[in-house]
Symmetry: C2
Subunit: 225 residues, 2 copies
């Protein structure tokens, strides 16, 4: 049987979901193009096909933007569930380190069957989040909303908990691990900001100076003490 979706289609759907944000706003072709690393012309072509598909994956309006249809959103969330389950599985069962899981999961997420998805989830005991702290959508696509803020936007002296970290760059991830910037860790931003860095107390250690690129990859939320 021909697969329902291709790798390219999955990647478009994920990108539209991410770029649309929690409000699921319409996403422009240019935004998709730069996020996916392809030309805007390629995006237009793909969106036209996705809109004409049966069932349609997107609602596309020329010169305006694109939104996911119900079917599109369902598939996007399924692929994200695959990705995050795989990351946790590779990390917990196959000795993958924090910075190695993303690349492998990014490839395999398109190819695992529903059966394998279920077996991995069962083996892991239906985990709620991946190793970077990102929530794993339920099988029906449900995903608990979160109040996350970039650490660099968190007010001084107010304690916060790391809820997740960006998994895009393995080098950054290794550095975060070294510094103890793990999901669940308590952090306090100390007075002492400069251009290019902030001062942060991580867990119970001494305040540490974090460069902005690094700190911008750390998402936090309030802690109820």
């Amino acid at each position: 049987m021909t697969p329902q979706t291709t790798e390219a289609v999955d990647d478009y759907l994920k990108a539209i979901l991410e770029l649309g944000g929690p409000a699921e706003e319409a996403v422009s072709s240019n935004a998709l193009a730069s996020h996916l690393g392809v030309r805007a012309a390629s995006v237009t072509g793909m969106l036209q096909k996705l809109a004409l598909r049966e069932p349609s994956f997107v609602v596309y309006q020329k010169h305006y933007g694109v939104r996911l249809s119900d079917a599109g959103k369902r598939r996007a969330l399924e692929v994200i569930r695959h990705h995050r389950l795989l990351e946790r599985f590779l990390h917990d069962f196959l000795d993958y380190s924090w910075d190695e899981v993303h690349e492998e999961a990014e490839r395999l997420e398109h190819y695992i069957s529903e059966r394998l998805e279920d077996r991995i989830a069962a083996k892991l005991g239906d985990p709620a989040s991946d190793p970077h702290g990102h929530p794993i959508p339920e099988k029906d696509g449900a995903i608990a909303p979160r109040n996350e803020v970039q650490l660099i936007h968190w007010p001084c002296s107010v304690p916060a908990g790391i809820s997740s970290v960006s998994d895009r760059d393995p080098v950054e991830l290794r550095e975060m691990k070294r510094l103890g910037l793990l999901p669940g860790t308590k952090v306090v931003v100390e007075p002492g900001s400069r251009t290019g860095s902030i001062l942060v107390r991580i867990g119970s250690g001494q305040p540490t100076r974090l460069t902005l690129p690094l700190a911008s990859g750390v998402l936090v939320s309030g802690v109820t003490e």
Copy 2:
């Protein structure tokens, strides 16, 4: 990075390796076409590309046939190693049954990284065979030669051991499991052949009548008693 091989290329290489047999004879386009379920014309086109690649995967002579080059053989064995390691992993760690592993492994074999291959092998303790009894090639491609014969060609009354079973048909596999036709089991062909079936004592049970399609999927070798 663009992958070194595509799924189609992998499938051609595996097919050439299998159809060439232990002597690695040249394989005809027609044989490949019927094995792969595509038209002979498609095979010719693909072989021409595979021969021109750098490094070349095949040695191709028009109107004669095709053989694997060293690079082609290496890749074919790597994919087979992936397939069989995956089968054992799915079976032993993720509660897949005997007849479910093939389909999943057939898809994933093309997409797992060398790192995942290594981690799975380590987790399993470098197993020698998959759940159907097929030998898993070593990382360098080495694969112990076997003296297997189809059960239907084994002489009467001479004890034999099942070395492997065909994994193509899940229905057949379930039937084999029900009958106890598992790799390692001792079998003896009893006098009582008819057209369409043979009589076989499986393990220490009573003689059982096996249909030829089923029995032809059972490979045996001599047992040293």
